[in-house]
Amino acid sequence: MELKVIADAAGAPGGGCASSGCGAGGDKLAHLPEAIRAKINNHPCFSEDAHHHYARMHVAVAPACNIQCHYCNRKYDCSNESRPGVVSEVLTPDQAVKKVIAVAAAIPQMTVLGIAGPGDPLANPQRTLETFRQLSEKAPDIKLCVSTNGLALPGLVDEICKHNIEHVTITINCVDPDVGAKIYPWIFWNNRRVTGRKAAEILIAQQQKGLEMLVARGVLVKVNSVLIPGVNAEHLKEVSRVVKAKGAFLHNVMPLIAEPEHGTFYGLMGQRGPTNEELSALQDACAGDMAMMRHCRQCRADAVGMLGEDRGDEFTLDKIAAQEVDYAAAMARRAEVHAAIEASRTAQRNQSSETFVSIASLTRRRPARPEPRPVLMAVATTGGGVINQHFGHAREFLVYEASANDVRFIGHRKVDLYCSGDETCGDGESVLAKTIRVLDGCEVVLCSRIGYEPWGQLEAAGIAPNGEHAMEPIEDAIAAVYREMGAAGLLECSGGTAQRMTA
C-alpha cells in the first residue's frame, strides 16, 4: 500500500513517525531489548505512551527516612499539595494491601503499585517488604516498584529480588560529593549522623553500588534527578553519562519544587527552581541515545489514578474498611480491560503512521520552500491518548511540539502544581490567569470544549483555542492543526532552519 512505502522511505529525523507515541520507528525506548520493552509496555511511569492508558498508585507505608535533602520537609502531612514526600495518612502494610486490592478492583487500568515514601521505602524495610510480600501473593497481576535514595539499597538488593520487584527508581542528584554537600545536609549511617561532604560521599557510593547490583540481577533501574539551578544543573549531564554506562534504562530529570510555604530548606532560603526552558534544555542535553523521561508528574507518595490525577480521596481507610473484594473476579475483569486498552493502542498506532506519512509528503511536495517552523501546542486530556477534557477542568496540560518531521511530546505543565487548597494557600491570581501564564509559548490549546470567556482571553494572549478535535488521538489532531496552520501560511520561518523549541 502506498502509505507504507512512503513511511519506509522517509529518511528524515523521526522517521515520519510520532516520536512520542509510536511503538515502532520513533519510539524513544526502541533501543531497549524486547524483554525490557515488554516489561514497561503498560507501566505509566516508564512508558510515555502507556501513561495515556494505564494508572498507578502509591501506598504510603514508609514514613521514616535515613537522610535529609534540602528540597524535602519531613512535616509531610498535607491534603492540598501534590508533590513527592507529601501524604495524608500513613498506612500499615495490612491497610496498604487492602487499599491496593480495593483500587485494583475499582480502577482496572491500574497496573502498577509503587512504594515511594513519604520517607525512604528502604529505610522502612520491614513495612515496605511486608507490603510487597502480601501483594505478590494476593494480586499477582500488579507490577511492583520501589523508589529509594539508595543509601540502604546494597544491603537490601537480595530481599528486593525475592519479592519479584521488577522496577527500582533511585534518586541520584550527583556523583560528586562536593555537589552532594550542597544538597544533603546529613545522612544516618552505621548508627551515627554523618554530615557534610563525608555524608554525600557515602550516599553516592551506596547509590552507585546499588545501581550496579540491581542491573547485574536484571532489575530495571530508572534514575530520578532533581534539577537544582546553580547546584547540579551542569553536573546532571555527568550523572546521566555515569548512570547510563552502569545500565540504568531511563533517566528522569525533574524540576526542583521549592516554595517558602513548603518549609523546605531550599524553599525558605529562596532557592529557585528551573524554568521550563532550562529543564527542557537539560533533558535534551542528557538525552543522547538514552531514554529521557518527560512525562513525570512528581506524584505524592499516596497518589492514586492516572498520572497527573489523584483519586486518593475515594479510597481512604474509612471508605474501604467495609469492602470485601473478590480478587479472582476482579483480576479477570482487569485482564479484559487491559486487552481492550492494548487493542485500542494498536489501532491508534496504525492510524498515526498514516497521518504522519502525510505530513512528510506535504513537505516533500514543496522542496523549494524553507522548512516550516515548529509550533508548541497544549492539550487537555484525562487519558486514553485522546483529547477529551474541558479546558476549564484541566489541572494540567500536555505540551507537544509539532514540526515538519514529527510530533514530539515535550512535557506537561501544571496549573496548580503546588497547591489546590483554599485561599490561604493561593496567591490570589485567578485560575484562568494562571493557566494562561503556564501556557506561555504555546500557540494552540486543544481541548474537548471551552467556555466563552476563556476563549476570548486565550485569543487575547495569542493562544488559539481549538475544540474541533474532541475525542481524536492527540498526535493526529496536532498534526492536523499543524497542517492547517501551514496551509494558512502561519508556519513561515523567518530565521531559515527551524530550531527545536523547548517547553
Partner: protein, 92 residues
C-alpha cells in the same frame, strides 16, 4: 537520665525501631519516650539513636532538658548565618 520527645515531632517513625531499649512509643499527638526504659543508649551506641536520626530540630531533649539537635544543627547552617547564605542561594 532519659531523653524526651516534645511537641514538634512529626511522628515519622524513624527513631522507634532504632531504640535499643524499646523505650519509644507510638502515640498522639506525638511519639513519646518511656523515661524509665530510656538508657540514653549508654553501653549500646556511641550516639543516642533517636536523636541521631530525628529530622526535626529541637524536638528531642536530653536528660537536662537541652535540645540535642539545636537550631541550625540539622540544616548545617547556624541561624546567625542565614541571611548571608540566603543571599548566596538567591544569586543562583
Amino acid at each position: 537520665m532519659a531523653y524526651k520527645i516534645i511537641e514538634g515531632c512529626v511522628n515519622c517513625w524513624a527513631c522507634l525501631p532504632l531504640c535499643p531499649s524499646e523505650a519509644i512509643r507510638e502515640a498522639l499527638p506525638h511519639f513519646t519516650i518511656d523515661a524509665r526504659a530510656c538508657t540514653e543508649c549508654e553501653g549500646d551506641f556511641a550516639d543516642p539513636q533517636c536523636a541521631s536520626i530525628c529530622p526535626i530540630e529541637g524536638v528531642i531533649l536530653d536528660g537536662l532538658g537541652v535540645p540535642v539537635n539545636p537550631p541550625g544543627s540539622l540544616t548545617g547552617i547556624p541561624p546567625d548565618r542565614w541571611a548571608e547564605i540566603r543571599t548566596q542561594i538567591q544569586a543562583r
